[in-house]
């Protein structure tokens, strides 16, 4: 029972590089979310999706892009990495508009 999986666990990027953070869930949840957590701060919503083919911006979407071609996958794309994007990224899924289930996170450092 994998739940929500995220890859990679850790990554170091140079300024200006791009990468994709992968998120997969096996619970057939319609709703998926991407958050970032900075030290001493709560979780801030980057993007979310209410179903395949439907995405919307959250609180802090600048510098990121998402796609949702399948129910299972919700990748987060960073096109031009900046030091301000150094953070821990969490993906979550939910069967409806309530309890969200989180992945283990990806720790990203941009130097």
């Amino acid at each position: 029972n994998a739940g929500v999986t995220q890859t990679p666990k850790f990554r170091i990027l140079k300024i200006g590089q791009s990468m994709t953070l992968q998120c997969t869930q096996d619970m057939n949840h319609n709703y998926m979310y991407w958050y970032r957590q900075d030290p001493g701060m709560g979780l801030k919503l980057i993007y979310y999706s209410v179903g395949a083919g439907i995405t919307d911006k959250g609180e802090v979407p600048n510098g990121y892009n998402v796609s949702r071609s399948t129910t299972e996958d919700f990748p987060l794309r960073l096109e031009l990495a900046a030091p301000s994007q150094t953070s821990v990224y969490f993906c979550a899924s939910s069967p409806w508009k309530d309890t969200q289930y989180f992945g283990p996170g990806t720790r990203l450092t941009v130097l």
Partner: protein, 114 residues
Amino acid sequence: DQQVKQNSPSLSVQEGRISILNCDYTNSMFDYFLWYKKYPAEGPTFLISISSIKDKNEDGRFTVFLNKSAKHLSLHIVPSQPGDSAVYFCAASSRQGGSEKLVFGKGTKLTVNP
């Protein structure tokens, strides 16, 4: 403007005693509240929730109390155990408002001393 506030960054209690974590919110449209627990290097895990139609919800050692008039909720852990040491996040949503999103507080780090 923080809609969900956890004003205590940290809390330390002795094993066996009660832990009380507090959360305040400002948005009167919030009608569903959750608590998540987070260990280092792991994702948050759901702990307990409460709907605004209730004022208390209990699950084993964990009880959440909701005071709608004060826009305040609290999580009680009795008795506290060293394994409860973690960061606890309060979150809120507006189900009636049709929101798919949760708004999180900044978290309170709980340390339970043996």
